[in-house]
């Protein structure tokens, strides 16, 4: 595409009114390995695919505990994600210290978004190259937010980011109406199914994914590999039977998306 003339600086607009550097940052998110999130009325589950650089190395940490009631899954430049997680943790600690109560998730994501926006309006900075799925519980219930490098943020019932996330999104779109009243375990199963979609053929094992849960009466924590493998084994058998049904369901479904898709002509950051 011939958009190279206006993409040197983040502070340069294109004639079409786009900031290409920010859009390129969103591309970085799409390159990262998949991360998904889904929520019910009382729980939120985050999951991610563990991608290791080589057989010899360990995989990068993509899910971070921010506080007892908030956790985040990232996709994109994991180094940027780590730095933002540290910022989020700090904000939670400072708020707790001053107000003796947990930081409401909605406030945190706004602060995060404002921080990202700063990097889209300074010539000496670059946008953060990471998308964050923020899962949190506060007085107003369970929340799942997606924070973009552009400085936008959206609330979702379920969402997926990173490479091959469209497959997971398609699965989530089919199932999301059941999530609100789903049990915690069903929610985790759906998360594993969604992750399986992104693997496209590869076997789903606990070593390939990481799952984290936060909910009412359950502080944010990452599930251990043993538990995850048990859940995979439990539904793998059922999963085989679901195969033919799923294929038929996909063609019939035409539910409106919760902002998960974007028109081709519209700038990606305007989702």
């Amino acid at each position: 595409m011939f958009r190279n003339q206006y993409d040197t600086d983040v502070t340069t607009w294109s004639p079409a009114g786009r900031l290409f550097q920010v859009e390129y940052a969103m591309e970085a998110v799409k390159q990262g390995s998949a991360a998904i999130g889904l929520r019910s009325k009382t729980h939120i589950v985050l999951g991610c695919v563990n991608k290791a650089n080589s057989e010899l190395s360990s995989h990068q940490k993509k899910i971070f505990k921010v506080d007892d009631h908030i956790g985040v899954a990232i996709a994109g430049l994991t180094a940027d994600g780590r730095v933002l997680s540290r910022y989020m943790r700090n904000e939670c600690i400072n708020y707790s210290f001053t107000y003796e109560s947990p930081l409401p998730v909605g406030r945190l994501v706004v602060q995060l978004a404002d921080k990202a926006q700063v990097c889209t309006q300074r010539s000496w900075k670059r946008p953060y190259g990471v998308g964050l799925l923020v899962a949190g519980l506060d007085e107003s219930g369970a929340h799942l937010y997606y924070n973009c490098p552009s400085g936008n943020y959206f609330e979702y019932q379920a969402f997926a980011i990173g490479s091959r996330s469209q497959a997971a999104k398609t699965y989530l779109e089919r199932k999301f109406e059941n999530f609100t009243d789903a049990s915690r375990d069903d929610l985790v199963k759906d998360a594993l199914m969604a992750i399986r979609e992104t693997l496209q053929g590869e076997t789903l094992k606990s070593s390939v994914c990481t799952i984290a849960v936060v909910g009412v009466g359950e502080p944010f924590h990452i599930l251990d590999q043993g538990t995850v493998q048990q859940m995979i084994d439990a539904f793998e058998i059922v999963g085989e039977q679901e195969g033919p049904d799923a294929a038929a369901g996909q063609e019939a479904s035409a539910e409106p998306e919760q902002g998960a898709g974007a028109g081709e002509g519209v700038a990606p950051m305007d989702i």
């Binding site: 505990k65 540290r86 943790r89 700090n90 600690i93 400072n94 707790s96 210290f97």
Partner: protein, 223 residues
């Protein structure tokens, strides 16, 4: 013109006493629950003991507003440590952190006299005693606060802590059993309450051992 004196002090002394005793596999930390100012009692039911980590508890007497601020500060630092290291802080690590935190305010100190008690990485009991600006030492037992002048000599008599100058080097840890140590603490506070007007009302005892943390209370003189 004679030198001007301050007509207001940022500090107050809320009184009270704290004690900690280390055992081979346990640690006892105790403090009374009376909070006073001058010759008045503010409340008979205030806890001077704070759990900083899984196996680390601090008891502080002095100016409780500073104590509260210090406790909050350490709790926040502990959270950061857990995020970075994925584990709880050990008692010796917390001891150093407390010392550094106190010295940081060397020129406007926390008016807080602390004893830190808990289990070290090997599960042995440890007690650290501090002054207001962070000077600290690992000991087998200690007391701080308004009753410490009454309590400390008695503990010395009962626990016969060996001098660090003696050879061969002996452990700082007491040979007492857990139940005996708790009993000793109760005796010590009952005695201190008799003569120290700032110590009394109720005694809060916290015991840390391999099974976890246990709390118990005992009534003291209310006069």
């Amino acid at each position: 013109m004679p030198k001007q004196q301050a007509n207001w002090s940022p500090y107050d002394n809320n009184g009270g006493s704290c004690v900690a005793i280390a055992g081979a596999d346990y640690c006892v930390i105790a403090a009374d629950t009376r909070m006073s100012t001058g010759y008045n009692i503010l409340t008979r039911d205030y806890s001077k003991i704070c759990k900083l980590a899984d196996k680390c508890v601090m008891a502080s007497s002095g100016f409780q507003a500073d104590v509260k601020a210090l406790q909050k500060h350490l709790a926040a630092r502990h959270l950061i440590y857990q995020h970075q290291h994925n584990k709880q802080m050990s008692c010796p690590a917390m001891a150093q952190l407390l010392s550094n935190t106190l010295y940081y305010k060397r020129f406007f100190p926390y008016y807080s006299f602390n004893v830190l008690g808990g289990l070290d990485n090997e599960g042995k009991g440890c007690v650290f005693t501090y002054d207001a600006v962070g000077s600290y030492e690992k000991v087998g037992y200690s007391s701080q606060g308004s009753g410490s002048t009454l309590i400390m000599p008695f503990l010395d008599n009962q626990l016969k802590s060996p001098s660090p100058l003696l050879l061969p080097v002996q452990d700082a840890v007491t040979p007492l059993a857990e139940a005996e140590a708790v009993d000793l603490v109760k005796t010590v506070f009952a005695s201190a309450s008799e003569r120290d007007i700032y110590t009394g009302d109720k005694l809060e005892i916290v015991v840390i051992n391999a099974d976890g943390i246990r709390r118990e209370y005992m009534d003291l003189r209310k006069d």
